[in-house]
């Protein structure tokens, strides 16, 4: 089992570059934990907590990765962040019963099979 801390709103910035690159968006995975991590219920805003059976922390850690590209700075290859997270939970698309629990309690327990297709690559739109 793994625990995902999900950002629960869309932040914005007047600077369009900062807005796209730096602002947290609804569904971004902020952090992940093993299932033995205690969880405050309900979690404080602006977070949702999703406890998922059938998947390990190691398997979901990739959802913490930003969207990046390689650039060369002073002859060295550097990693430039384009967006906070490459993957996100598509909250609007998850089944209503789960979404309602999430919005009411800010917390839900689901299986990986129930939710994996809604964890999507933002570039391709493809679920896991």
């Amino acid at each position: 089992m793994a625990i995902l801390v999900i950002f629960g709103r869309n932040n914005t910035h007047a600077d369009p570059v900062k807005n796209a690159r730096g602002c947290w968006k609804l569904g971004d995975v902020v952090d992940v934990f093993d299932d033995d991590k205690p969880v405050v219920r309900p979690p404080a805003a602006p977070f949702y907590v999703v406890k998922i059976t059938g998947v390990t922390k190691a398997q979901v850690e990739k959802y913490l990765a930003p969207e990046t590209r390689a650039v060369t700075v002073e002859g060295r290859e550097e990693i430039e962040v384009l967006r906070r997270r490459l993957y996100g939970l598509s909250v609007a698309d998850i089944p209503a019963a789960i979404r309602n629990q999430l919005q009411t309690n800010r917390y839900v327990e689901v299986s990986w099979e129930q939710i994996r297709q809604y964890v999507r690559n933002k570039l391709t739109g493809v679920g896991e």
């Binding site: 625990i3 801390v5 950002f7 932040n11 910035h13 900062k18 807005n19 690159r21 730096g22 602002c23 947290w24 971004d28 902020v30 952090d31 992940v32 934990f33 991590k37 205690p38 969880v39 405050v40 219920r41 309900p42 979690p43 404080a44 602006p46 977070f47 907590v49 913490l64 930003p66 700075v73 002073e74 060295r76 290859e77 550097e78 990693i79 430039e80 962040v81 906070r84 800010r106 917390y107």
Partner: protein, 473 residues
Amino acid sequence: MATITRYVDPNAAAGGDGTTNGLSGSTCAYASMAIWEAAQQQDLTDGGGDIAECICDSNGGAADTTNVIIDGWTTGADSYIWIHTPTSSRHDGKWNTSKYRLTITSNNCITSYESFIRIDGIQMHVTSSANHRAFSMPTFDDGGVHYYSNLIIRATLSGTSVGTGFSATTQSTGTRTRHIWNCVVYDWVNGTNACAGLSVSNGNGYTNYLYNNTLHNCYTGIVGNSKTHTRNNLIRSCNTATSGLTAGNQNYNATDNASLGYTAQANDRTSQTFTFVDEANDDFHLASSDSGAKDFGVSDPGSGLFSDDIDGQTRSGSWDIGADEYVAGGVIEGQASLTQDAHAVSATGEMPLSGGASLSQGNASLSAIGDVAITGAAALVQGGNSISATGTIPITGTAAIVQDAQSISSAGTMLIAGVAALQQDSNSLNAAGTVSITGEASMTQTSHTLSATGTVGIVGTVLRSRMLMGIGR
């Protein structure tokens, strides 16, 4: 203007609002710095100037393992991000796995796009086979000011990594300022790759002030630009001490290399021998015997920016070079008393007890790298563990030492003089030098040996009991 204070503790439950340092309940600390950053991301200037304070602690010893990107905020000179540890639970100047730390694998520890930020007292460890940093600053608006202090920044690099402690994108114009002081930076090395401890070059759009940092085992210690100013930096065991620096902006730096990488200035020091307390275990505090850095720095290089060292100890006199200011340990004097029941008392320097001072040590060892001096009417009561000193242990005046169940050993001499009294009940007393008992001093040793590789001198109206063994007596 307000300070928005929130707490981070990796031992806390997930889902707290961060308003307390508790580990459970709705107001508990955020469980990672990344969660704090997400929760607090905001415009700090909209209310006239707020400070976003992030207090990092680890009440339980867990590490924070999630990399942090600070971005999407609006900051200003009076509206900045302030990340720090509470002074009471900061690392002790060396890597400490019971204190707050960011330990990140295959990523940067902190990537910051914000222009006004202060980070103090954090430990960071990057493990990577790629080009990752402790701090990456991809953009940094003109006029921005960064402060980094009292940090421990280390790396374990492999593969093709060209890791550096700091990095930023090139800015050739403008004025961006970075102040970095009292940081210990080590192991930014991976064969002959161009790794570096403090890489603050990136064009002349940056002005850098580097004071009192200790850099150890980095391929290059400091990589700077023509607007980098350094004072009191200690650079040891690096392939190249510095590169890119303009000589006129540097002084009072020291290295074991033959060259600092620029034309040495009047008070710079090359080919020095530095002595640390425990280099093998990455403890880069200066030893009392150091002759390469101690008292060779300039006082107050930052013109009031800071006055202490990485341990929070006040610097004085001619400052030491590097992150640590050597301070003789454990001074207990006057009518002061220290009662220590179940933990060790140790000093990297001498430990004098003088005047009417008393030290009562219940059940753990007392050790000093220098002398343990007990003078005047001072008393030392040591219940259940050893007393040791790499220097001498003089007990003089009317001082008394009572040691119940463990050994007393001194690498130097052991003098018991005046009307001093030593009572040692059930273990040995050893001195590499002489043991002298003079005047009306008394020594009671009930059930174990007393030995000295030098002489055991007993002079005057000395009262003594128990067997003596003296080589050369």
